[in-house]
């Protein structure tokens, strides 16, 4: 059974060209970039090239790129740094729909004397900027707001957020893990101070991330030790993964148009057909601006895990929200924050496409999912009532 992989916001396949790029840096070119010999030096050159490639994708300068181990580390490092830079500012602002990498950390801060404001979203997953204007003050150290939501794909008006934040002198961090490689970003004309990237969301391997820190923004390292990354992130570089990420960013730049045309068209077709063929379904965040690859769709009177298990049986890989929330009893914190009706909060499925997705794969989902939903509803006491009404 060939898998139909539609869970690209969870992780992506490593691009063949990316894998080829990193392959020599395990058994052949394994030198340490810090070493004072040619053998390490040639690796240093490739790391520099990778730094340039990452910078190019987001319109940044190479010296603004710090390599980390993952998106979570980047998020943690950014927030901790801001709190150290402003020891007397004891207020942090984030949103109720952030990834746990930010939300768990902020909630932990509230136990250590910090005031934490979690901004609400409306039924479509959108922010109310007036709520931010009312919440922010001179005591706010950092505002951390995601670029695009991992579950619904809803994009926040990041530059407007940044202007509000700058007026009050706070630092502005954005978790752009889901945005980078899917929509164009340009740090040269941005209000963002710090930005997190995760390699494995854009066809690089797992275990590599980036924290962008704007030139002139004070930064205090999270990991201390050696002088790597200009003493901003100690620890021997994960050279193969850094080189892979550089290649992945180069490819992401080339495929950015495709992401917003071909991939988006497939997502739109999947969305349209599922809504046409399946009664009592709704799109989460459907009226908001969204990532081109993400479809979060809620089905009434049927439970999400069951849908995933039936899809999985056919080789179709999707998600019922965030992987981090799938072991929980509660509907995802994102859907709850949006006030998704209780009749379908437990029945939300996320399909996330990539440049590897084919029209045939989308056809298969359009053919199989209506049957699966009907089957689940026939088993459900509430679903049977719905089917009888029709």
């Amino acid at each position: 059974m060939k898998e139909i992989y539609l869970d690209n916001n969870a992780t992506t396949r490593v691009d063949d060209a990316v894998f080829e790029e990193m392959r020599p840096y395990f058994c052949e070119l394994y030198g340490n970039p810090s070493s004072m010999h040619y053998f390490g030096g040639q690796v240093q050159q490739k790391v520099d090239e990778a730094r340039q490639r990452v910078a190019t994708l987001i319109g940044a300068h190479p010296e603004e790129i710090i390599f980390t181990a993952c998106g979570t580390e980047s998020d943690n490092a950014a927030i901790r740094s801001a709190l150290e830079v402003f020891p007397n500012k004891r207020h942090v602002i984030t949103t109720r729909v952030e990834h746990p990498a930010v939300l768990t950390m902020c909630r932990g801060l509230s136990k250590h004397g910090y005031r934490v404001t979690e901004l609400n979203v409306d039924g479509e997953g959108r922010l109310d900027l007036d709520e931010l204007r009312n919440a922010i003050d001179e005591n706010t150290a950092i505002v951390s707001i995601m670029y695009a939501n991992n579950e619904t794909g809803v994009i926040f008006p990041i530059e407007e957020v940044g202007r509000i934040v700058k007026e009050k002198g706070a630092l502005f961090h954005t978790d752009a893990v889901q945005a980078v490689g899917k929509i164009p970003l340009n740090m040269a004309e941005s209000t963002i101070d710090m930005l997190s990237i995760s390699g494995h969301k854009l066809h690089a391997p797992k275990g590599i991330g980036v924290l962008y820190v704007r030139k002139g923004i004070p930064f205090r390292p999270f990991m201390v030790g050696g002088h790597q990354e200009k003493s901003r992130r100690a620890g021997t570089e994960n050279t193969a993964a850094i080189i892979a990420l550089g290649k992945a960013c180069e490819l992401a730049g080339k495929h950015l148009d495709e992401e917003n045309t071909r991939v988006k068209a497939m997502r739109d077709r999947l969305e349209r057909e599922l809504l046409r063929l399946i009664p009592a379904a709704r799109i989460n965040g459907g009226k908001a601006e969204r990532l081109p690859n993400t479809l979060s769709i809620a089905f009434e009177f049927v439970e999400g895990e069951l849908i995933l298990l039936y899809l999985s049986e056919l080789g179709i890989c999707a998600s019922s929200g965030s992987a981090c929330t799938s072991g929980s009893l509660e509907p995802s914190h994102v859907l709850r924050a949006m006030g998704v009706p209780f009749t379908c909060a437990h029945g939300s499925i996320r399909f996330t496409l990539s440049r590897y997705t084919t029209e045939e794969e989308v056809d298969t989902v359009i053919r199989e999912l209506p049957r699966i939903i009907r089957r689940g509803r026939e088993m459900s006491p509430f679903g049977r009532e719905l089917l009888q009404q029709q």
Partner: protein, 285 residues
Amino acid sequence: MWDYTDKVKDHFMNPRNVGDIADADAVGEVGSLACGDALKLFIKLDENKERIVDAKFQTFGCGSAIASSSALTEMIKGKTLDEALQITNQEIADFLGGLPEEKMHCSVMGQEALEVAIAKYRGGPVPTHDHGHEHEQEGEIVCKCFGLTDGFLKKVIGQNRLHTAEQVTHFTKAGGACGGCIPKIKELIAEVLGEQQKLEPKRPERLTNLRKMQLIQEVLENEVRPQLWADGGDLELIDIAGSNVQIAFRKACAGCASSSYTARFVEQKLRELVAEDISVEEVQG
């Protein structure tokens, strides 16, 4: 991905007895849409109204909820009502070759639906909680999110010998949403464990010093530390001098504002299970 057994997979891929029975003798409904799972169970009895000749179900829920419902209907066919009532949630899980602990609440839902159906048929009070439907409740609501009563929780804690609030959440969902009732769940666990221990009179009349020390260590290992672990805490036994037990708190318990309360809890446990004259002293070790 959950580690489901082949039997669980078989029962959610090919569920037995889905549907309804138009002239059912007993119908039991538990759960609700908001809770994320619900089960409606139909039972048909033979002419003498003694044995279950048919059972059907409709379930809204995850794979293990479907599998548990399917298993339940298979298990009760051919049984008398009294025999069916003897089925525990653990037996439903065993029938399926086991369930992940986080999914044990699905087996509890099956047992519950059966009890509700039989109680309604017999016309007596509904013996368990019945969330989603405001019928008679036994006891007082503990978990407001899922509408679970103390009577129900105590029964599940006792039957499955649960020791931590997390286990209670896995088995019943209680405390799984806002978490506001977790302190109360811990009290219920302590209460039920206390009752179980009263039923097990194992304390010898006179203890030698050596036996007393062994017992103190056993109680700390088996009864006390697992409860502290549940909260991220721990303790270390530093010394035993006669009836004076010296302990030092570790991890989250160290420096915890309520460590004196915890020390009293340890003392109470040791007095209850080892000897009345034990005193517990917190030391820096």
